[in-house]
């Protein structure tokens, strides 16, 4: 009797201890890996996101960082005063005070201004009154969901059951979208973190269909989400222009009986399907996207006291565009000035261009010759259907094409007696680009670093890269 009571109390204690450990471990993981909150900003110039910091229980954001992608901005700090110039507008902020002056006129923030680590921080809930004075136009702040729309941006959508087939739901958007799509039992979620998708007149849409009953719009944490309620597995099909998404019974459902059908994509995560190379040649304006890496406040490597990487990459990128266009390859250059451009912006612009090949240009002082890299993708957890998973591995399905272009470019460089090496690298935004993609890192031919700025060397290397791309254009879906 006594023995058994000791055993049961020991077992109860065991359970308590085990749950204590589990709880502590879960708390540890949640707290240690708590994702930082972000403010998503949408404007005609760029879509980007900024980290939110908490001060005295309020959400704050760096004002200069917010304005930087929108125009020319500079700031100076001396003894508590922060003076910010945006185009011709002057804003004056004082540490610890909520009263500010914009072009000499007073305005009030909802809480006091902070200045930390060269960053002027303003409360987010003041942006809707502060920004119009600086930008001279309207902004819309969705304060609950940390989304900020500047000017008249906003993507609207309609959703309707297909007239000929009530098992299909068709969404039409007013601009191209590329949401991440995930499914769970009875639900399909589309998460839009890079597009300013706005709520329909009523957030819950109901449908007269046996299989798809409703779609619900919500927004939170810098993203919009559409949740579709269904009683069959659905897959999402994207139109080539990215403006129509059709949800239909997944192929696994309809082709279950056929054993000759190719394996259906996993239902857990049906990745957005950017137009495969060659599928929509008529819709394609640019075949190649050339990205001059770094720029603005990001100088890249200081190659020598007088030579910054960002200047060399710009010169190389312009040369490569010229060489590609000389070969009849329409090319978009992503940075054609000393501008700041985030890695997300670069990937977004490249994907939006729906080109066939993306080239990131870098320069380096170490080693010699040219190094070529394809993406080394980050760890992708099968269990993790997070909204950014398809974004961080968008390159996955194009890796074969990327390696083919790399091999072709390497062969052309060798023909020109340039030392060349092909590697993989954990390098953004390569992994976010949904087309053949590679990076070119140009090092000097020998020990003389100044050769990196030499027009002859730049011409030699970039014309070889252009030849390598031109050689595989047919494979990438362009008529030779």
């Amino acid at each position: 009797m006594r023995w058994s009571s000791t055993r049961s109390s020991a077992r109860a204690l065991g359970i308590i201890i085990a749950s204590g450990i589990l709880f502590a471990f879960a708390a540890f993981l949640v707290l240690a890996a708590a994702p930082q909150k972000h403010l998503s900003v949408y404007s005609t110039a760029a879509n980007y996101s900024l980290p939110i910091v908490q001060r005295q229980g309020r959400d704050y954001v760096g004002l200069l960082e917010l304005l930087e992608p929108l125009g020319s901005v500079s700031a100076k700090f001396d003894s508590r005063r922060w003076r910010l110039h945006y185009n011709n507008i002057l804003g004056e902020f004082t540490v610890g005070e909520s009263r500010v002056r914009i072009q000499g006129r007073e305005a009030d923030l909802s809480a006091k201004f902070f200045f930390e680590n060269d960053r002027g921080l303003v409360p987010i809930d003041s942006l809707s009154s502060l920004l119009p004075r600086i930008l001279g136009g309207p902004v819309t702040l969705h304060v609950e969901s940390d989304r900020l729309l500047i000017g008249s941006v906003g993507t609207h959508f309609t959703a309707a059951i297909a007239p000929e087939d009530s098992s299909r739901l068709v969404f039409h958007f007013t601009a191209p979208v590329n949401p991440s799509v995930s499914t769970e039992h009875g639900k399909l979620h589309m998460t839009f973190s890079r597009e300013p998708v706005l709520a329909p007149a009523s957030p819950t849409l109901t449908f007269d269909s046996k299989t798809i009953t409703q779609a619900k719009f919500s927004e939170s944490n810098g993203a919009a989400e559409i949740d579709v309620t269904t009683n069959i597995p659905l897959m999402a099909n994207f139109s080539p222009d990215g403006q129509t998404i059709t949800l239909e019974p997944s192929k696994a459902q309809t082709a279950a009986a056929s054993n000759t059908a190719p394996p259906a994509p996993p239902q857990k995560l049906l990745a957005p399907s950017p137009a495969p190379p060659g599928a929509v040649p008529s819709a394609r304006r640019y075949f190649a996207v050339v990205d001059a890496s770094h720029g603005g406040s990001d100088s890249g490597e200081t190659l020598s006291p007088s030579l910054a990487e960002k200047d060399v990459t710009l010169a190389l990128a312009r040369r490569l565009r010229q060489e590609l266009e000389n070969r009849g390859i329409p090319t978009l250059i992503l940075r054609d000035s000393d501008a700041n451009l985030s890695l997300d912006d670069r990937a977004f612009a490249a994907n939006n261009a729906r080109a066939a090949v993306y080239v990131a240009i870098h320069a380096a002082s170490s080693g010699h010759g040219v190094r070529l890299y394809t993406a080394l993708l980050p760890y992708a957890d099968e269990e993790d259907d997070g909204p950014f998973r398809s974004w961080s591995t968008a390159q996955q399905s194009s890796l074969g094409a990327s390696q083919a272009v790399l091999a072709s470019v390497a062969a052309e460089l060798k023909k020109q007696q340039v030392a060349v090496r092909g590697l993989t690298a954990p390098l953004r935004p390569l992994n976010n680009v949904a087309m053949a993609a590679f990076a070119v890192e140009v090092a000097p031919p020998g020990l003389d670093l100044s050769q990196l700025a030499s027009p002859d060397y730049q011409q030699l290397t970039m014309s070889a890269v252009a030849n390598g791309i031109a050689d595989v254009r047919a494979q990438l879906g362009m008529a030779p």
């Binding site: 000791t6 240690a32 990487e309 080693g367 190094r371 954990p426």
Partner: protein, 199 residues
């Protein structure tokens, strides 16, 4: 009656729970705070005394742009986490030496290695390591491949690796190599193989 060994067990576990909570809160505090910590200029800790073990270090060589595997005998503690830290410190000692084949900034150190999740290793480096690191795709990936390959070769069971700097996530090491995601140990293993082939 509850046996005495259970009391002891509970006390030890409660202490562990408390320590983990404090640690997690500190990590979180670091992620929220924006004040820059002064760079850590502590000298590299001397290896722990004890019996030596044979390990394989993957050492980067800038002159040839390659990784090379070196067998070494170093004293290693028996606790898995401390072994991981000592391994990386032995590697850093090579890079901080006068005749370094791949110089790292003075004062570079490992703040800690945490083997948290089954298969997840978190390497927390100090600010000196990242702030002064040479910029360039190859330079940065040699460092990352050297650290991760050395760790996953000598500590079995690591599938993914996260590199933090002063307990915080960082976008890139020095403008190129992405630190915002988790490294796939299998992918780094392939990269290490590429980097061991002469160009």
């Amino acid at each position: 009656m509850i046996p005495r060994h259970l009391y002891i067990g509970i006390s030890v576990l409660l202490a562990a729970v408390l320590a983990m909570t404090i640690y997690a809160l500190r990590m979180r505090g670091r992620a929220v705070a924006t004040s820059v910590s002064p760079s850590d200029t502590r000298p590299v800790a001397p290896p722990a005394a004890g019996p030596t073990e044979q390990v394989t270090l993957f050492v980067a060589y800038d002159d040839i742009g390659m990784l090379q595997a070196h067998a070494a005998r170093i004293p290693l503690p028996s606790v898995r986490q401390q072994r991981a830290e000592e391994l990386l410190r032995s590697l850093l000692a090579i890079y901080l030496d006068k005749s370094s084949p791949h110089p790292l900034p003075p004062g570079s150190d490992v703040r800690g290695v945490y083997l948290v999740d089954p298969g997840l290793a978190v390497i927390d480096m100090n600010a000196a390591f990242a702030d002064g690191h040479r910029s360039g795709i190859l330079s940065e990936e040699l460092t990352v491949a050297s650290l991760i390959q050395t760790l996953s070769t000598n500590i079995p069971g690591i599938a993914k690796v996260k590199i933090l700097v002063e307990g915080k996530e960082r976008q890139t090491l020095a403008g190129h190599v992405d630190l915002s995601g988790f490294f796939d140990a299998a992918g780094i293993n392939q990269l290490a193989a590429q980097l061991q082939n002469s160009p």
